[in-house]
């Protein structure tokens, strides 16, 4: 099913791109190839944004092409680069950031592109938690932030009511979450809570919220020699809590990556910690009253939680032997358009991704979006509620997708009772560090 849909989408994208190319040829515009990894309906919405840019001027034609999931898009871009045919712009998921950064001559940092073409890009216009993720150590923007999300809690108000919980007071701390999950179970809810993106939601975010490092060297920002820190007693206790809840039947492990997403809109699970980008789907599919809340925290570890980190993707400029100055200028024009607050705000309101610029956030507020859509402000507020520390800037770890997988695998073994929480995280650290060392070796200049 997935494959068929992807095929249909890519065929459509191809047809679209072919149409655009034809139009461009007639008018001699500078053509910019843009590869993205957003399936429908988000992919279509992204292509609308691109169309908005194409219609706004007559010098540049951006051709969007859907290249499959994020990892597939990354693979395609790398293969194309190796063949000397890289697209001008590629959308890359946040965990690919370190890999792209160490790509050296394969990419052109955004700050460099903007200054070379005289376009200017105000880094301070971006939300710090967003900007930090995509900036070099000295604060220069390396990629253009676009679709960013963060993790929040969605909960089923009807189920809360049924279990005698206050539907307007979602649990704010982990002890409260555990308590609510047990009450929901007692009230006959088969799946009181779940979470998608296991590593992102239960380790990366939990670390940021409590100002605990996920890895040394400021989560990898300080250098390639970072090592994982998640076998710290704090994370062990957190995983143990999840395992205990799962054993009691108060929590369900919904599978890897975003496999658990469907459990909430279907009404199966009463609480989910998931990407804020899930909102659009919940609005469309959920047949019950629901609410959105910030992620819970451990009050014994921190009195008030820090900002969460982002997920999602950013746009990278790729190089190619054939690239001309005009083409870079065209890319810069495209990026300047995307950075406009009104473009940012519209994308945020249409999709459930967070606004990436502070002005975009203000604009959405001004338009009354949050009054009309209660809970939609939760992700951006959670992202901006504190100043970022070195533990809440994001992660800068090589081959992070592989590390995420390793942690998922070790979690799955622990959930089955094959190993303790401590063993799981010790193994994850050991295996993850091997990955980091290999990356360090392969990318040493």
């Amino acid at each position: 099913m997935l494959t068929r849909r992807k095929l249909a989408v890519s065929t459509a994208a191809f047809a679209l791109a072919a149409g655009f190319t034809g139009a461009a040829y007639a008018q001699q515009k500078t053509v910019v190839e843009f590869w993205h990894g957003l399936p429908q309906p988000l992919g279509g919405q992204l292509e609308q944004v691109v169309k908005g840019f194409n219609d706004s001027q007559d010098k540049v034609q951006v051709n969007p092409t859907f290249k499959g999931s994020y990892p597939e898009t990354m693979q395609a871009a790398i293969a194309a680069f190796r063949a000397g045919n890289a697209p001008h712009v590629v959308q890359m998921f946040e965990v690919g950031t370190a890999t792209m950064l160490s790509a050296g001559p394969a990419i052109k940092p955004v700050h460099q592109l903007m200054s070379e073409t005289g376009s200017g890009l105000d880094a301070a216009a971006y939300i710090p938690a967003v900007r930090g993720y995509y900036s070099s150590k000295d604060g220069k923007m390396m990629a253009l932030p676009f679709n960013s999300s963060t993790t929040i809690t969605f909960y089923n108000k009807d189920a809360f009511q049924k279990a005698g919980l206050d539907p307007n007071k979602p649990p704010a701390t982990w002890p409260e979450v555990a308590d609510a999950a047990r009450k929901l179970k007692a009230a006959g809810v088969t799946c009181p809570m779940t979470f998608s993106w296991p590593t992102w939601t239960q380790f990366e975010q939990v670390g940021a919220l409590h100002d605990k490092p996920f890895a040394s060297e400021a989560n990898g920002f300080g250098g390639l020699n970072a090592t994982l820190k998640i076998n710290d007693p704090f994370f062990v206790k957190h995983l143990q809590t999840l395992i205990d809840l799962q054993k009691e039947g108060a929590l369900r492990y919904g599978g890897r990556d975003n496999a658990a997403d469907s459990l909430f809109p279907s009404g199966e699970c009463a609480m989910i910690q998931a990407s804020s980008g899930l909102r659009g789907r919940i609005v469309k599919e959920a047949k019950f009253n629901w609410g959105a809340a910030p992620l819970p925290y451990w009050p014994d570890a921190i009195s008030s939680p820090k900002n969460s980190i982002i997920g999602g993707a950013s746009f990278w400029v790729m190089t190619s032997p054939k690239r001309t100055a005009d083409e870079y200028k065209a890319v810069a024009a495209f990026f300047s358009y995307l950075a406009r607050p009104e473009v940012d705000a519209k994308w945020h309101m249409d999709t459930g991704y967070v606004p990436v610029t502070l002005q975009g956030f203000e604009l959405a507020k001004k338009e009354g979006f949050y009054e009309k859509n209660p809970g939609a402000e939760v992700p951006a507020e959670q992202l901006t509620r504190t100043a970022t520390t070195e533990n809440t800037m994001g992660l800068r770890l090589g081959n992070l997708p592989e590390i995420r997988n390793i942690i998922q695998e070790e979690m799955e073994k622990a959930f089955q009772g094959q190993q303790t929480a401590q063993q799981a995280l010790d193994n994850a650290v050991k295996r993850g560090d091997t990955v980091l060392r290999n990356f360090e070796r392969a990318n040493k200049t």
Binding site: L2, R4, P71, F81, E402, N443
Partner: protein, 294 residues
Amino acid sequence: MQRRVIFDNKALPYLLLAPQVAVTLIFFIWPAAQALWQSVHLQDAFGLRSQFVGLENFEAVLSDPNYLETVKTTIIFSVSVTVLSLGSALGLAVLADSKIRAASAYKTLLIWPYALAPAVAAVLWMFIFNPDIGILGRALNNLGYAWDYRLNDGQALTMVILAASWKQVSYNFIFFLAGLQAIPRSVLEAASIDGAGAVRRFWTITFPLLSPTTFFLLVVDVVYAFFETFGTIHALTHGGPGKATETLIFRVYQDGVVNHDLGGSSAQSVILMVIVIALTAIQFRFVERKVHYS
């Protein structure tokens, strides 16, 4: 008597061979050579820096306890898939070959699954076995049996074995059916007249006469289980839970495509190539001896 084709033109035979040679060179020798080269190098994802590391990639792979675990999983998986798909296809072929009503309808239905792409087949299985949306998965849970292949090694492995075998039954079925139809009726009838029952006829006549087909399918099925079940596993379990359903080929993909570890992935490809060459050689040397070709 010897028949030789004489070409007047010396270049013509080479010309006629050229397409096949080109295909072999481009689609087999070249990638295989690249894999060999990659397997002794350490390279970043973009291919900007590479260094010769000798056999380090092999050492890393072979000393990784997870890799050895994957080898074990692959053996269990491949043997199960081969036995299951060969056995059930043979049984079905024998049944479909007998005089029954609507035999051709059964045959068509049995051949159908072969037309499905592995990923599509896997999605069908998901709609049956997924604990949340699958028909059977939900039913099992409602009956009080804790079915969740996302968190149960045994259940996950059973499911991918079933799905992968089911996919291959059709292929085996076609060949077995053709093989059965090639067995002379007169031999079977003679045995009947001599008083041999159905079971005895099967084991003493049908099965030995089918052995070339069985042998061929054995080779094909082992290669299938090793290399072509990727789509099924990818769509159903992604190798999980833990690494319970990760086979060698799945790991090659995972390390090479997802994790950008081209050196390690290539080293695994080379190991896999050696394993399959060895397996095929063993099969031809030892199993083939027991095969009656005529």
